[in-house]
């Protein structure tokens, strides 16, 4: 299985789909099929990597360091699979209702390409290139719908995220300046030998850049405005697929390239994560429109990822990966099902709500439990208390939203099609399945940490 196959499917597929009118159903379903094919290729690559270890491909046969390398390891593949699942579901969902712009399916595919590319690259600058491909697709997607409200949301999104991209580019330039390499492996070998101050500055810049993407507490200001303005499928894509850049970036650059700086900055991340959880939860309780509640909930949920990262070690990193995966699925399910009507949609939404609150048998329970367990094992009462408080807050706002959305207000704002219902039900079942059989996901996330150095806390 070659690394190039998922990229080739997505790239040629996106180009092919862009030639046709995406508002027509056959074109939309072809795009869904191509995304699913790329997903299947990525899963096959994942099985191969699981059996034979990470794969590497030097572009044009140049060895790593001289040329640009594509690298596929479990960490990248896990995030690529989750992102492609989210994109396929969201596109299918939108196609089964009504696609409103001819370019929409092609854009979703281009975003899939950008995400898969950046999860598979071993070169810091190439990471930035793929990152920009997915961001450019996201900029256009944010304005999808083209009402004044969506354009306003898109403008905020573009301005803030361009700032984030520039910061990231500055960070890469600094890394190159400090180490003389763009290859991530070589940078991670070089950084421990460097003087600490410039590296800390670089690491901070990159941390801020990814925090903006994730919508972490002090950098969250753009997120509610954007999520409330966009359509449900786009909100699902932004929070379920695009936000993975942030979690993956923090893991790859934080845990892989700057492990020493990550350890020293652990208390900052702990504080920011805690504030994110409490702030997101309290704000979500105070809001009424579903997208706004879910947007603040997103801010709260990324706090857990940050806390898991600050704990570090194999357990901490595995918890961060697990939480990022489950959170992406939760948010996709919630954004999609909140826009539907009827008891089936209500039940699917309830599963997502349980998952966010961390109630078994939904998958979110294990995300919270892993962090809870680490808190107890390490004897850190603050983390245990935070998981409780965060869980209680999310329980309150999720059921407030459920009540407002499915009990009080019954009128449909858009068509509830059978296909859309089937999709959210499938997603809900998948989350329940993860909750009932968590072992595969737990072992995958543990395997994904195996490439990260300094796993011992």
């Amino acid at each position: 299985m070659t690394i190039a196959l998922p990229l080739a499917i997505l790239w040629f597929g996106a180009l092919f789909i862009a030639l046709f009118d995406g508002t027509r159903k056959p074109v939309g379903y072809t795009a869904v099929g191509l995304l699913a094919a790329a997903l299947a290729a990525t899963v096959a690559l994942g099985i191969d990597v699981h059996r034979h270890g990470p794969k590497e491909m030097g572009i044009a046969g140049w060895e790593a360091g001289v040329g640009i390398a594509l690298r596929a390891d479990m960490l990248g593949i896990t995030f690529a699979v989750v992102s492609l699942v989210v994109l396929t579901t969201a596109l299918w969902f939108e196609v089964s209702r009504d696609v409103k712009a001819r370019i929409f399916p092609a854009l979703v595919m281009f975003m899939g390409l950008g995400l898969t590319g950046l999860f598979f690259t071993g070169d810091a600058f190439n990471f930035y290139v793929f990152f920009e491909i997915s961001m450019v697709a996201a900029y256009v997607l944010a304005s999808y719908g083209e009402s004044p409200r969506q354009l306003r949301a898109a403008l905020i999104f573009i301005v803030v995220n361009l700032l984030g991209s520039v910061l990231f580019l500055v960070g890469i330039a600094a890394m190159y300046h400090n180490t003389g390499w763009l290859d991530m492996d070589r940078i991670s070998v070089q950084t421990p030998m460097l003087e600490e101050n410039p590296v800390i500055l670089t690491a901070t810049i990159i941390f801020v850049a990814f925090s903006i993407k994730l919508g972490l507490f002090p950098f969250h200001f753009w997120l509610p405005a954007v999520y409330t303005g966009t359509r449900p499928a786009v909100a699902a894509i932004l929070s379920g697929a695009l936000a993975n850049i942030g979690s993956y970036g923090l893991l790859r650059f934080g845990a892989d390239i700057f492990p020493r700086e990550l350890r020293e900055g652990a208390w900052v991340m702990l504080i920011l994560g805690s504030i994110s959880i409490v702030y997101g939860g309290v704000q979500a309780i105070a809001r009424h429109s579903p997208n706004e509640v879910l947007a603040y909930s997103t801010i709260g949920q990324v706090g857990y990822i940050l806390i898991a990262l600050s704990i570090g070690g194999e357990a901490g990193y595995a918890a961060a990966i697990l939480y990022a995966v489950i959170n992406a699925l939760n948010k996709t399910l919630l954004f999609l099902s909140a826009s539907l009507r009827g008891w089936i949609a209500g039940a699917a939404f309830a599963v997502g709500a349980f998952s966010v609150a961390g109630v078994p048998p939904a998958g979110g329970f294990f995300g919270k439990m892993v962090i809870f367990q680490i808190g107890i094992d390490d004897g850190r009462p603050l983390i245990v208390a935070l998981v409780f408080v965060g869980g209680a807050l999310s329980f309150v706002y999720m059921f407030q939203l459920y009540r407002a959305r499915f009990w009080i207000n019954q009128e449909a704002d858009e068509a509830t099609t059978k296909g859309a219902l089937a999709l959210v039900v499938a997603l809900a079942l998948a989350i329940v399945l993860i909750g009932v059989f968590p072992e595969p996901l737990l072992s995958i996330s543990r395997e994904a940490t195996s490439i990260l150095p300094e796993r011992a806390p």
Partner: protein, 168 residues
């Protein structure tokens, strides 16, 4: 409105500019230049025609009409060069003849697959620059015409909602 002098000069300049851009494209392997800069030079030459002759005349140029297709063709060509080696099990972007082998020369032009890749980039840049400027110019002309028609009828209708009209 531009003068006859400007228009004549612009029209005369078009072919030399295109020639130079092809030169820059071909020279890229032995000298300064590549598909990107060649594309920028060529599209500036074409856009110059729009500046001199106005948007409507600009639209009539075949180069402008097929610009969006050039983007697709260029991206396809570049991707094909990148991904075709994978079929035979080589890493992506592997070029033929491979490093160390000698290539056939025709003046400054070397017959190697990266030239095809650069032609792809050249087409993408031309298609994008000319296509996007053309789209903006077309929209400006349309708005001016609408405004003129509105002033004529003296009934300021509040502008049709854009949401429905843009579906296709």
């Amino acid at each position: 409105m531009t003068t006859e002098m400007t228009r004549t000069t612009c029209r005369i300049l078009l072919l030399p500019i295109l020639m130079i851009s092809v030169g820059v494209l071909v020279k890229g392997y032995a000298d300064i230049g590549d598909g990107f800069s060649a594309g920028v030079i060529a599209s500036l030459g074409i856009i110059l025609q729009g500046v001199a002759f106005g948007a409507e005349e600009f639209d009539r140029l075949p180069l402008v009409r097929y610009a969006p297709l050039a983007t697709f063709a260029g991206l396809f060509l570049a991707l094909a060069v990148a991904f075709l080696p994978v079929v035979s099990g080589d890493p992506i972007f592997l070029h033929h003849p491979v490093a160390g082998d000698s290539a056939t020369h025709f003046g400054a032009l070397e017959f190697i697959t990266p030239v095809l890749f650069d032609i792809g980039v050249f087409l993408i840049v031309i298609g994008f620059c000319v296509g996007s400027i053309g789209a903006v110019a077309r929209e400006t002309v349309r708005r001016e015409r609408d405004r003129g028609a509105q002033a004529e009828t003296r009934r300021g209708s509040p502008g049709a909602p854009a949401e429905r009209g843009d579906r296709r």
